[in-house]
């Protein structure tokens, strides 16, 4: 067991970034190899974490705590529990795959990989940070590389998409900054009595002092946090950055965007909003608003997906729908729903990653993504079609593949919620099941079935590099579909604890309004 493993997994890419920066610009292969090695090492570390993770405790593990800025009581404080470990694993996996998928990047290679590694570090950092300030730093650090990765290496409207992404997410995070400050000044450190950024202290309602005991302030803080996270998820109507960003981003970045970045919104809610301000979360106007938005996400996202003619945009909107399921699962505050939601975060990361990679494969060959511009690829590219069908069916929630179980749990959890009556919402949400099947199959049909488009009679089959990126995800799709416990075991104890904490949090403050 490696000591300080979390620091290693966060800062390893930074080391890699510096090495890449030191390499001469012409040594493109060396740069790529270094990046692959460092993200590969990250996977090794992630595996170590997986192996050594104690699934029976609710407390934080692999904790490291070093004082950073004394006067503001800011700590370098990292640690993971069941919620974060799944995200750490996902990030490590997708980062590596994205690096492999980036192999054909040819423009400004050095800058690309350096920025990518920085992004990687930022993502990891978000998932391990337990000090809110540190969390915020990592959260913001991701924006910058993302802006450039979309803006320089993206599609035709990349500049527009990049700035849109940047502005949107910054808007969310500055609101989060204010919320963070309100929390800081009104949570006391049980040890020193001073203010604290320590999330664990913040979660203990007994530490809340000052205006944080006023319900309207709590609602305000919750709302600010919510908008910050909602933009990332993204929740309707804060979602319009997503289709553009996804479409314009290069394939590996789309993978990261959909696979990891979207999860940060829901992760933030589960790590911060819910446990720190449970009563605001449970306040009925908020909760029902939340669920309404979740359902809108599902139905609206799916309908929009159906309307798209651009394959990548379709996948992007499909993500909006699937994240809606995550939100629905979370809202019910049942252990089934919560576990389903987080598992869905993981699964969606895998499936959407796969879908974007698949889109990338044909985009590389055909240089367009018009759904109607293909047709009959199944007879030309059988292996590709097979993998694509797997991903498509996973995406539409076919049992035996990973998305099914997480979606089913999310719906079950929401429907069976005893704390709130979400039955009608869930029933509307299940419309998404039909709609998703509708647009996925329709797409499958238009792209792969029918007579082969004569333009593509010489379309080459997927190559080895592409298979290296696709197959591991495909295997996970099946394995997790059959045996979700691989991930659920990690989550369960922590999430059940989370559910209990939020459920049992006193609602007496409601009266003080």
């Amino acid at each position: 067991m490696i000591p300080n493993i979390l620091s290693f997994i966060v800062f390893l890419p930074v080391v890699g970034m510096f090495i890449v920066l030191l390499l001469p610009r012409e040594k493109k292969t060396a740069i790529k190899v270094v990046s692959a090695v460092f993200t590969g090492l990250q996977i090794v570390l992630a595996w170590q974490i997986y192996v050594n993770f104690d699934t029976n405790t609710t407390s934080m593990q692999f904790v490291e705590q070093v004082k950073w800025i004394e006067s503001f009581n800011i700590w370098y404080f990292v640690g993971i529990d069941g919620l974060s470990v799944s995200m750490v694993l996902l990030t490590a996996l997708l980062s590596f795959i994205a690096i492999i998928a980036s192999w054909n990047i040819d423009k400004a290679v050095k800058a690309y990989f350096a920025l990518f590694l920085l992004l990687d570090a930022g993502m990891m950092g978000v998932f391990v940070a337990l000090d809110f300030f540190l969390f915020y730093i990592f959260w913001e650090v991701m924006l910058l590389p993302m802006y450039f990765l979309i803006g320089i290496w993206g599609g035709p409207r990349r500049e527009y998409a990049a700035i849109k992404f940047f502005l949107y997410t910054l808007l969310g995070s500055v609101l989060m900054l204010l919320a963070l400050l309100v929390l800081y000044f009104n949570v006391k450190d049980p040890v020193t009595g001073g203010h604290t950024f320590n999330m664990l202290h913040m979660m203990d309602q007994a530490n809340h002092t000052g205006i944080l005991n006023q319900f309207n302030i709590r609602l305000l803080v919750y709302a600010a946090l919510f908008i910050g996270f909602a933009i990332k998820v993204p929740i309707f109507p804060f979602h319009t950055w997503l289709p553009d960003a996804h479409v314009e981003a290069p394939t590996p970045i789309s993978v990261i965007l959909a696979g990891v970045l979207l999860k940060m919104g829901t992760y933030g809610m589960l790590r911060i909003s819910f446990p720190i301000l449970p009563d605001a979360m449970k306040w009925e106007p908020f909760l029902y608003g939340f669920v309404t938005l979740a359902v809108i996400n599902i139905v609206y996202g799916s309908l929009c997906a159906m309307a798209q003619s651009d394959l990548k945009k379709l996948v992007a909107y499909s993500s909006i729908g699937h994240m809606g399921v995550v939100l629905l699962g979370m809202a019910g505050l049942t252990s089934l729903g919560m576990n389903g939601a987080v598992l869905q975060m993981f699964n969606h990361g895998i499936v959407s990653g796969m879908l974007f990679l698949l889109v990338g494969v044909i985009y590389d060959r055909a240089h367009h993504r018009e759904i109607d511009g293909f047709g009959g690829l199944a007879s030309q590219m059988p292996i590709y079609t097979g993998i694509a069908s797997l991903a498509f069916f996973a995406n539409l929630g076919l049992p035996g593949l990973n998305n099914f179980i997480s979606e089913a749990f999310s719906f079950l959890g929401a429907f069976g919620s005893e704390a709130f009556n979400l039955k009608v919402f869930t029933i509307i949400g299940t419309l998404g099941i039909i709609l998703t099947a509708g647009y996925m199959l329709w797409t499958l049909q238009r792209v792969f079935f029918g007579p082969l488009n004569p333009k593509y009679v010489n379309m080459p089959e997927v190559n080895t590099r592409e298979l290296i990126t696709l197959v591991p995800l495909g295997v996970l799709v099946i394995v997790l579909g059959v045996y979700p416990n691989l991930v659920l075991n990690l989550l369960e104890v922590s999430l059940n604890n989370l559910v209990q904490t939020v459920l049992n949090a006193p609602s007496v403050l409601l009266g003080m309004q």
Partner: protein, 507 residues
């Protein structure tokens, strides 16, 4: 009291006045050397003299940190950590301005003797601004700074835009100080004193009788201060002057006199128009019913919003940065409205951060101006590929100006917002205005980034630009602390926190 007694006090004050004396010595030396070396290529020597004078003064200032707090020259000036903080900042800005001047070709070939003389005089004036506790001294120091600024702005005699900048500066400046003076005269009439501390005492008696009259004089006075920090609605001169003045001077103007204005503003309001809060030791409260904190809050919000909105539509980088610097004055003002230790600390901290990043940004403008002969944002297209170090440095300065971690600009904003949030719900609105402004500002900062990195250079001018080593070195020197302090800012914070010790006693 007899004349001898005053002389005694004045002589006794002199040992505490050494940095100022060094500056006076330097400027005299500059004049002499300039005369002696007339018609000979003397720029190098003069620059060196000016630079060494500044550095020696800096050493002397740092030496004064142990001297404690005291009143000088019969209470017209003070020596306290607060003023020392600003003096360090002024000297650092001046040093960079000199270095910029040396490196820039905009001023090459022009007689620099007067230029440096004026610059050092300007610094001297700012020293006095930061340390004044008497209305006469405040007026004189402001005038000293203003008059030299007018000349410096108009320094490139043959360039119309430089002259025009000087003229506007002069008229607007003289007008503003006229208003301020009129305000001073009313304040004097209402309280019967020119000393800030007595003013506070006297105000607490008369404030309730004449709140509107006092407020009116405060408004008049704010016209003077606001003009110095370029706060809305007294900012109008700034964009034109910033654009018209020689770029090294613009860099200096946007940091030095602005900081001096903040020093004055804070001291005037804290010492003269506020009293320590009875509730909490680290807080003050406004005297009487004069709502100047609210007034500052409105001005702060208006300043950042207007600065950012207009910056949004600029195509000239220099002018864009001018508006951005207006916006930053608005941010820094946020710290002054809450009347807390944290607030003033945040403002001071922000000024340091602003010094680093704004100087850096202007340096890049100088670099590109020298190399491509343009300040137009369109001409920045593809510079990321032609001058990567400068462009990356620009990126870091701009992100710091936006307030993104891990840069010192983020920490500065963080402290400002922290101060507001800590002060309670009454200031949440200002904090929200502040963060929304950050988002708006991102757009135009990133616009520059877009042109530099996202756009490719035109075919005919794709070659690498010959950025000199000294320029690159300076860029790195500015870039590194921005990141370093963004990651570990405890030293800077200690330094700043140590500076919130006002001279509060009476004599």
């Amino acid at each position: 009291m007899e004349f001898g007694h005053y002389l005694q006090i004045n002589l006794a004050s002199l040992p505490y006045f050494i940095p100022e004396l060094i500056l006076v010595g330097t400027l005299l030396l500059l004049i002499i050397v300039d005369l002696v070396l007339k018609d000979k290529p003397s720029a190098g020597w003069l620059s060196l003299i000016a630079l060494s004078g500044v550095i020696i003064a800096l050493i002397a200032v740092i030496g004064q940190y142990d001297l404690g707090t005291r009143s000088l020259f019969n209470g017209v000036l003070v020596l306290d950590h607060f003023s020392l903080f600003f003096k360090v900042l002024f000297l650092a800005a001046a040093a960079l301005a000199i270095l910029f001047t040396m490196a820039s070709i905009e001023l090459a070939g022009r007689p620099v003797g007067e230029y440096y003389t004026l610059l050092i005089t300007l610094v001297l004036g700012m020293f006095l601004m930061a340390a004044s506790t008497n209305l006469i001294m405040i007026y004189i120091s402001i005038e000293l700074v203003s008059i030299t600024s007018f000349v410096l702005a108009a320094y490139i005699k043959r360039a119309t835009r430089s002259s025009e900048a000087g003229l506007k500066y002069a008229i607007y400046g003289a007008f503003s100080s006229g208003l301020m003076l009129y305000g001073f005269s009313w304040l004097y009439g209402l309280t019967g004193t020119l000393d800030l501390y007595q003013l506070a005492r006297s105000l607490s008696e008369v404030a309730s009788q004449n709140p509107l009259a006092i407020f009116l004089s405060v408004l008049f006075i704010l016209a003077g201060f606001g003009y110095k920090i370029a706060a809305v609605p007294f900012h109008f001169w700034a964009p034109d002057v910033y654009e018209g003045a020689p770029t090294p001077m613009t860099a200096f103007f946007s940091v030095g006199p602005k900081a001096a204005g903040f020093a004055l503003l804070i001291r005037f309001f804290v010492s003269g128009m506020a009293q320590p809060s009875l509730v909490e030791s680290s807080m003050w409260q406004a005297i009487g019913d004069i709502h100047w904190p609210q007034l500052l809050a409105v001005i702060s919000a208006a300043t950042m919003t207007l600065g950012n909105l207009i910056a949004l539509v600029q195509n000239n980088v220099k002018r864009l940065l001018a508006y951005s610097s207006i916006a930053h004055a608005g941010y820094a003002l946020m710290g002054t409205v809450v009347l807390t230790q944290e607030g003033y600390f945040a403002t001071l901290f922000y000024l340091v951060a602003y010094y680093l990043m704004n100087m850096g940004a202007f340096l890049v403008v100088i670099v590109f101006q020298d190399l491509i002969g343009s300040e137009k944002i369109d001409d920045y297209r593809g510079l990321g590929y032609r001058a990567p170090i400068a462009a990356i440095a620009m990126g870091i300065f701009l992100f710091s100006l936006t307030g993104l971690p891990p840069t010192v600009g983020f920490i500065g904003k963080f402290y400002l917002f922290a101060a507001l949030i800590k002060a309670g719900e009454a200031y949440y609105w200002l904090a929200i205005v502040g963060v929304l402004n950050s988002v708006i500002s991102l757009y135009y900062y990133v616009k520059i980034m877009k042109y530099m990195f996202l756009d490719r250079p035109a075919e005919e001018k794709a070659g690498a630009l010959p950025v000199t080593l000294s320029m690159n070195l300076m860029l790195v020197v500015l870039m590194v602390p921005i990141i370093l302090f963004g990651l570990y800012w405890a030293p800077l914070q200690e330094f700043t926190r140590n500076s919130i010790q006002f001279f509060t006693g009476t004599f």
